[in-house]
Amino acid sequence: VALTPKTMAAAAVLAIVLIANLLTAVLSRPPLPHIGVILPHSPAVDPDYKEAFVKALGELGYEHGKSIKITWSEGPHGFPGRAEKLEEMGVQLMVVASTPAREAACEATIKAGRPIPIVIMTIAVIDKCADGKYRVTGSTLEAVELVGEQLELLQAVGKFDVVGVLINPDTPRVGPRYLAGLMVASSAYPFPISFPEYHARSDEDIKAVFAKIKAQDGTAERPKALMVSPDGLYREKAERIIKHALELKLPTMFSTANQAKKGGLLAYGQSYPEAYRRAAFFVDGLLKGREPKDLPFEGPSQITLAVNQKTAQTIGVPIPLEIAVRANEIFPP
């Protein structure tokens, strides 16, 4: 075909039409679904959770920037403000991975008068968010409910009649219930177990707690082991806690494998990566238009027992057979 002005003009017109179509398609494309995720820890802590969530979303066909827009809100503090900020950004739903975050999200949506769906990875909803007008679903982490098993596992290591309990006073939904669960569970034991409470909400507090325990050396009140409540803050502060605990050769019980990996003696609880993975399916269902009430809450699907043999050697405690056969993850020396 000769390059006459006529054909060139025709080609130009064709190109313009194509570009116009393309532009219209791009401009008229519905905006990407926008979700907000509130993580109760800093990005450097437990990055595998986030990865699991992103990977699961990817398997379901969601890729950030292409088919979904994810706004991450990470850190252990300031949940109400962060939730409100996400709300203001107009996210279509929020994923929250801690109880205070869930409460902040609920409050934010109530305040905004726009109850967007909330996917939780927290303890069971027992507050006003459970009201049907709020659109909440997700996995309940039965960390509190697993407290009896945690105590049993800890007692298998040694006979600890004084077990310190580390509690975050800022999360009343977690600490007291954890403690109450321990009280109930302890009744099944043939010997009395006391649970001295230690409150910590900051590094200084933690330091002070261990200073206090150290000060109790030689006394009957001195805890023989420490159970750390399944609080997001303590996942954030795991290394600091473990450092102090190792200094005092104090056996510890955590609730996530990552904490055991960092030096905690034992960790027993819901698999967090699995929970994050499940959260992706809730997000998928909700984005596909399912109502939260049609997506029932789920309990933990996978419970993990992690043991750190190095820590056991360091503090000089044996790993009993019943833990060894059962442990899903053993961190060797």
Binding site: A2, T4, T7, A10, G61, A124, T140, E142, E145, L146, G148, E149, L151, E152, A185, A188, F281, D294, L295, P296, F297, E298, G299, S301, Q302, I303, L305, L321, E322, V325, R326, A327, N328
Partner: protein, 812 residues
Amino acid sequence: MNLLDRARAAIPQSPILRKYLLSIVLIACFGVLANGAHEWWSFNNVHRQNLEAARKEAVRVAAERVADYIDNIQSQAQWTFLPLVRGDEQLGGQDWLRQSRLAALRLFRESPAVRKVYRLNANAREQLFVSQTGKDEYGSGADWRAKWPFSDSGGFAIGNGPRSHLQPRNQHSGSNPFLLVALAGSSPELGITVLEVDLRLLWDIVRTTKVGRSGRTHVISNDGAVIASNEMAKVLNGEKLKSDYVRNALDHRTATKIATVPGVQTNDDKEQVLAAYAHIPKHDWLVLVEVLASEAYAPFYAAMWNTAALVLGTLALVAFVGTQMARRLVGPISALTAGADRIGNGDYGHRISLDTRDELQTLAAHFNVMAARIGHAQAESDRIVAERTRELATLVTELRALNEVSKAVNSSLERHGVLNTILEKAVELSGTEAGAIYEFDEASQRFSFVETQGMDQQLTELMSQELIGTSPKYVAEAAQSRKPRVVGDLELERGRGPVAELLREAGFRALLIVPIIHGERVLGAIAVRRRQPGGFPQQVIDLLETLAGQSALALQNASLYEELRQRKGRLEQAITLLEALLPRDIVSIVLEHGIDGLKPQRREVTLVFFDLRNYTAMSRALEPEEIAEALRDYHAALVPLIFGYGGTIERFTGDGVLVIFNAPRPVEAPAEQAVRLALEARSAAQRLSAGWRGRGYELELGIAIDQDHATCGLIGSEGRFDYAAIGNVTNRGSRLCAEAKGGQILTTMRVVSAVRELAEAHSLGKRDLKGFSHPVEVFEVLALKPGAARTAVANGLGSGGAKDSPLPIASA
């Protein structure tokens, strides 16, 4: 309708674009539609089969996996039936149970779906309880027989192989739905192990065995309750599937291991699905695989849409390309047609501009060449026609001029007018401003102006003065060479004499001089002068030569005319003289017929004789002058009367006059004429006689008339001829006249009988006439009869005033 119109009417309105486009579109449509039909066929014959196969495969895999999963858990649970021995030692109660607990704890790790393990004795009493979430217990002794459907329902038949039992979700505790799997030991003392299996762990298995993106996989128990599903909510909500096809499948579950459900079904979620199912006989479960019909058929619909889009796209493309191609074909053809039309309509300057680089362009080029040739030929022919027209026009102008000149030459012998016309035309036709005609005087050998044109008075005078002295050089040259002389530019011809100087000063630059030649003689020259320098076309020179010829003719004519005029004058003088000397008719006949006209011939003539009485006597008595005067009066009275009646005076004999009628010129009724003459003459004579008597002469006229045959003609010999009538009648008349007295008119019988009607006559009786042997009867004419009076016959031969009117004799 003429030929051209008919040819135009035969030009068809070309529908090539339509035909071309239609055929291309039809061909393309056929291809694309055939492709679409093939895709439809392949969907029906292949895609459906593929879909079915995919469903079957998925449901088979899902069923196998589910069965394997449960089998795996069961085989793991076998560890709880460890032998009651360690080494050789048989283990007692607590040790054995501890061993059993370790096996259960290990099972938690190996099979995370197992949440709780119950160790029962053969009577379904709880010996050990191991939990992932709570405190383990030894020997609680709880009785589970009532709670779980052992033996009687056929579910948990102890010692009869593994059995499973679906336990609905415990809503109030929020715990997960679970499945109870019971295994009996190989011997009753090994008791029973019951596993609580979290059903959601099956989710991962069914999730990965779905068909397509929206596919669903359900595992249901024999009552339709959902055991596992990739829609977790169904499991969590403890739903039961009730749709028609599921019920139908449950009814027929034992008949077929794996089957596809024909047709599109509606599932519990009111979705249109294609389904397949597989039966797991060990657990009496059914695995269902559903594919959304919309998704299953999506590839087909997509293919159909693709085909439709392809058809439309192809049509659009074909229409576009076809139009373009057709345009490329039709456009040039239209251009060719339009161009041919324009060329056909005479626009030979039109060129068809095509840039197709193919045969059409070649054709257009040929068209253009043809148009150029036709145009060239047309232009050439136009040019020739124009040239011919111009030449013709020039020729016509020249011919007209020459015609005028010829007319002038022919119509006028007056030289001035003719030469003026010639010069005027010469100047006009040669496109010059001035001109002159010179005449050559052979005697003085000089040229002088005859005519001038476009020259003012002064120049003419100055030149005339110069011409007196010398001949103008160019004119002389032309005359000498006898050929036209052309002077292209006087400015370049200095020193050629005063005339040339004068002309140059007058502003003339070019000259053309043609000599006027007649035979060998140079008569003069014709010259034209132009203010514009340059030569003269041959045509102009030829024209001027023609005009010179005409001038020569005019000049020649003029001189000839002059000569002729002079001769004519002389001749007229001679004739006048002759007429006076000779009888008038004689002269005229001689002038008309020459001398032969007067050859003697016999004819009847009437003669009238006049004779004066007493003349002889009186002539003796009178002086000759007086006699001559009397005779002059007498002749003056008589001669006009004779001519008036057409008579010819034969001779004068002193007092006598002989008049002949009917010779030499024939006269009608000569006798009557003669009688009238006689009577008139008698009257005139009587008046004269009265006058004469007053002067003392007694003169009277005697008249005789006779008629008879006579020989008339010239008589005489070389040197002297006379016209005479020779015959008897001459003598007789003469004798009669002698007989007549004064005032008496005598005649003969012959005359009287001829004029009986006219005149009165009476006989005087017979008289002897001298020289005649017999007496002749003599009559006297008295007068005209009253009726015949004055009916004079003008014979027309007389040249004078020979009328009946009274003659002017008295005045003479």
